[in-house]
């Protein structure tokens, strides 16, 4: 095996130093009845590197990936441009093959990058501070909800129906296991119906822009939270925050989201990267890792370390604030490179292009009699179709267009609604092609 470099001579010398006659002798403590014969597993035979590459290429080619179709599908994972520099940086072995910076003196590069990441996530979300990333957007939201129950010692979370259905499903799973009640608050016409006062609500959760693409009224959410002593949690697309007034500026206590749109490939939704920012007062309750700045013990040079580890599972065991052990450092690095490559103006430009494309598409769809059901949207919107949306989508797919997400599977009501997304990557031509294809399909 090329990944195992031992020669026969090496093995002989090593066994002599150890003082045993064969490698198998080292396994003497495993009862014989539990040991396998080498090569006895029922699995495929090994492939050499060219065959392996060809095999994977063949499997990959069976998928309809986005080089074969034009993507108007969003709903939490977005087809945004990834600058070439992102891949170049995160492929460097010093980043790709490092592990958790338990020994900070040997990991200053990563630690500084994460400190920069924390700064920029906090800035985008308009919050005081951010952590060093979570698994993904959905689990970030669930962790935020659970954190709120320990902040105000309440056992109920209230989540808007306008929050991504998968995120709510993950929330349900987490809360079930922790005996926390989840209540879903209704939304109409694409926005959350004002929250009912509930003194038992540990938190109110909304998405901004929400699952339907609409921009929620965060001032109203803040008001409801103030009235009820609840924590305000907002799930937010970080790219939208380059343009929208961010949740932190509305007084959100915790802001979470999925970092995938900032330099991470869609990859069937994984790995993504969970973003988590909050008010400074909450810093000791945050799940996951945080990097802090410090200095040398015997000098004045600044440096970075993982900090506040007294909250963590490796120290507090069952008393830890969460069981999260890892973060998504490599993806957080991709986010960091992305945010720096685009900078203030690039991020604004990407966000603005998305809005323009969405508005153009809405107006073109109106011309063929398809009206948007949501307004005040960022880059996604819902339309009502005269036919079943699943059927329309498969007809559009045969024309090389991933037309959007049919919502019938997620919400009660007629199966004709479709969620459409336009990122900065969509062009006027592609939008025009979509509209004329849809016209044909519906004819």
């Amino acid at each position: 095996m090329p990944y195992i470099p031992h020669t026969e001579a090496d093995v002989a010398e090593m066994l002599a130093v150890i003082g045993v006659s064969s490698i198998d002798d080292l396994f003497c403590e495993i009862p014989a009845n539990l040991q396998l014969q080498p090569g006895s597993l029922d699995i495929p035979k090994a492939l050499d590197e060219p065959k392996l590459y060809a095999h994977l290429l063949e499997i990959a080619s069976k998928n309809v990936d986005l080089s074969k179709v034009t993507c108007f599908l969003g709903a939490g994972i977005y087809d945004r441009y990834i600058p070439a520099s992102v891949g170049a940086v995160i492929s460097r072995g010093e980043f790709l093959t490092a592990y958790t910076p338990y020994q900070p003196e040997a990991s200053q590069g990563y630690l500084q990058a994460i400190y920069e990441f924390q700064t920029m996530v906090a800035e985008l979300y308009g919050c005081d501070i951010a952590n060093a990333s979570m698994y993904d957007g959905a689990t970030s939201m669930a962790e935020a909800a659970i954190m709120s129950t320990s902040l105000n010692k309440r056992q109920k979370v209230v989540v808007s129906a306008g929050v991504h259905p998968h995120y709510r499903q993950v929330l349900d799973t987490y809360c079930w296991s922790m005996d926390i009640e989840v209540q879903t608050a209704p939304s109409t016409k694409g926005v959350t119906v004002p929250f009912v006062d509930d003194k038992e609500a540990a938190c109110y959760i909304v998405q901004y822009p929400n699952f339907f693409g609409s921009i929620e009224d965060l001032a109203a959410v803040r008001e409801a939270c103030d009235k009820n002593g609840s924590t305000m949690i907002v799930v937010t697309d970080p790219v939208a925050c380059a343009l929208l007034k961010p949740p932190g500026h509305f007084g959100a206590d915790i802001v979470v989201g999925e970092g995938q749109p900032m330099g991470v490939p869609m990859g069937l939704g994984g790995p993504g990267v969970g973003l988590f920012a909050c008010k400074k007062e909450l810093i000791r309750f945050i799940p996951g890792r945080i990097v802090g700045k410090t200095k040398e013990v015997h000098g004045d040079k600044p440096g970075y370390v993982m900090t506040l580890r007294t909250r963590e599972q490796d120290i507090r065991r069952e008393k830890a604030t969460s069981n999260i052990c890892t973060n998504e450092a490599l993806m957080a690095l991709a986010n960091t490179v992305y945010m720096i490559a685009l900078g203030k103006n690039g991020m604004r430009s990407v966000a603005e292009s998305s809005v323009r494309n969405a508005q153009y598409m809405i107006s073109e769809l109106e011309k063929i009699g398809i009206g948007a059901m949501t307004n005040k949207v960022f880059c996604e919107f819902v339309v009502g179709l005269p036919k079943d949306a699943e059927w329309v989508c498969s007809a559009m797919l045969s024309k090389g267009i991933l037309a959007g997400l049919p919502l019938g599977k997620y919400y009660d009501g007629p199966p004709n609604t479709l969620l459409i997304c336009t990122t900065e990557l969509r062009t006027k031509d592609q939008i025009d092609t979509y509209v004329s294809a849809l016209k044909e399909v519906l004819a």
Partner: protein, 505 residues
């Protein structure tokens, strides 16, 4: 850490100049719009750095020079399985047919993706001996938690949910185990380790006699975090089963067993795997982790959704699972990591799989044998894929701690081993070489440690002051907690941010 010639690192914010952009972005060709009218209030300030592309690349390339990875040098961090990440894995994960898939595109358009997921599941079922594998958990601890959720759902389905509220965890366990148990609403009871390093059977027997009917599960790491195989494993599983409980295997140490022995055959009901450890997906500086869990048939109805399985010879993503615990991740798990794991598994295949554990164990025992005179093993038994040594005598005689030895290793150009874990070994030094390191590297590392132990006897100050690299000396981790500084603050003259800094501190 090697000495480098990189400049003193500055924060990227300090290099920012208004008006620079580091990327050639797409030009929008649809009509411009009145943003205020469409969006309502838009934001005015946005403090993101503005730098050119070359400046940005230099920034990160320089940062990479002050970071240590497997491709920089030997990385013997115990319990982390820092093996080589084959480059072919990176090539396959970047194929457009995998990287450019949307998780919500119609499932009939992703037969190749399902083939990968099903392929990894099938091979891992064979390797672990479990009936089912799910790849939805996003990291090892996430997998632990998912296993305990399955256990809880199982007991609730049998009407025992309220009765069985205790999870037993050995005192040598990873800290995530009790944390995951607590996350699932369980009370945790610690089980001690005996003098040989095995689970203390006398105590376990007593505990089961007293509270066996309240026990939901035992969470056992095998081989243990002491680097030892639990020879009584079948007996322990039977004891728990006889008491009506479930046995979870912490799979952090699967690298010691691949192709040689299978936890599913030992009597475990479920286990988590760290694909980023054993199956070679890159650790990425602390993530993405990549979890998976194996389980026996009786837990199958509760699997998280979607379940990738075959039906009439076709691979499907089954969402219709009435007894499922639900969804534990946004989409299909860490899919691009599964592509890497699949690539790796297929590179080894049927005829080579056992070599992973054989050579991992050989390397660990070699390091153990070479170091036994300077750093004695905590237990006098053959170790599995990692060896646990103790530096207690240097602490007693010279005031040199295991941490000091580790820091000195940085001066010698090696990443340190793991210290102070497991918690039950004094001045613990945990070394995991993995199978991908050659004999010369192991010898250089052992020579360095022998030299350092000699320094501990003769010049202990060298160790107390280590590391002494040009990059940064030993960092004050206590100060970082005392004066929390977790983000850059633009301009001290800015009153709002000054207040923020004061408040955080």
């Amino acid at each position: 850490m090697r000495q480098t010639t990189v400049p003193e690192p500055k924060l990227i914010f300090e290099k920012s100049r208004a008006g620079r952009v580091g990327c050639n972005l797409p030009k929008c060709d649809t009509p411009s719009v009145d943003l205020g009218k469409i969006l309502g209030e838009t934001r005015e300030d946005l403090h993101l750095p503005e730098v050119g592309e070359l400046d940005m690349l230099r920034h990160f390339t320089n940062l990479s020079h002050i970071n240590y990875g497997i491709e920089t040098g030997f990385y013997p961090l115990g319990s982390c399985t820092m093996k080589y990440n084959p480059k072919i894995n990176e090539m396959t994960a970047r194929m457009t047919g995998f990287a450019n898939l949307h998780p919500l595109q119609p499932v009939e358009t992703i037969p190749g993706a399902l083939e990968i997921l099903h392929g990894v599941q099938s091979i891992l079922c064979q390797v672990t001996g479990f009936d089912y594998i799910t790849l939805q958990p996003l990291a090892g601890a996430h997998g632990e938690m998912t296993c305990l959720m399955l256990v809880r759902a199982y007991f609730e389905s049998r009407g025992e949910g309220q009765k069985r509220k205790i999870v037993l965890v050995p005192d040598s366990a990873h800290g995530t185990n009790p944390a995951s148990a607590a996350r699932c609403g369980y009370d945790v009871k610690s089980i001690p380790t005996d003098a040989e390093g095995n689970t203390n059977l006398a105590v376990l027997t007593q505990v089961l006699e007293e509270i066996g009917d309240q026990v939901a599960a035992l969470m056992l790491t095998n081989p243990s975090t002491l680097g030892l195989f639990e020879p009584n494993i079948e007996k322990i599983c039977k004891m728990i089963h006889d008491a009506g409980g479930q046995v979870f295997c912490d799979g952090a140490n699967m690298n010691a067993m691949v192709g040689t022995t299978r936890p599913g055959d030992h009597g475990f009901d479920c286990m988590h795997l760290n694909l980023h450890k054993t199956f070679s997906t890159p650790h990425g500086g602390g993530g993405p982790g990549c979890g998976a869990i194996g389980l026996q048939k009786h837990l199958e109805p509760f699997l998280p959704k979607p379940v990738i399985r075959t039906e009439n010879g076709k691979i499907i993503a089954d969402e219709d699972r009435p007894k499922s615990i639900g969804r534990v991740a946004g989409f299909y798990g860490q899919f691009l990591m599964e592509v890497r794991a699949y690539t790796y598994l297929m590179a080894y295949g049927k005829e080579n799989m056992h070599r992973i554990s054989k050579f991992a164990v050989l390397n660990a025992n070699y390091v153990r044998a070479r170091l036994k005179d300077v750093l004695p093993p905590a237990h006098d038994r053959p170790c599995m894929h990692e060896c646990i040594l103790t530096a207690e005598k240097y602490k007693k005689e010279k005031g040199v701690r295991a941490l000091d030895i580790s820091k000195r290793l940085i001066d010698y150009g090696f990443h340190p081993a793991t210290n102070y874990f497991p918690l039950i070994v004094p001045e613990c030094f945990m070394i995991e070489p993995t199978e991908t390191e050659n004999k010369e590297t192991l010898d250089e590392f052992c020579d360095a440690l022998i030299a350092i132990c000699h320094e501990a006897e003769t010049e202990p100050e060298l160790l107390h002051n280590a590391p002494s690299t040009k990059i940064v000396g030993r960092l004050d981790e206590t100060l970082a907690v005392k004066q929390l500084d977790v983000r850059w603050i633009p301009g001290a003259e800015n009153k709002e941010y000054t207040r923020l800094r004061q408040a955080i501190q």
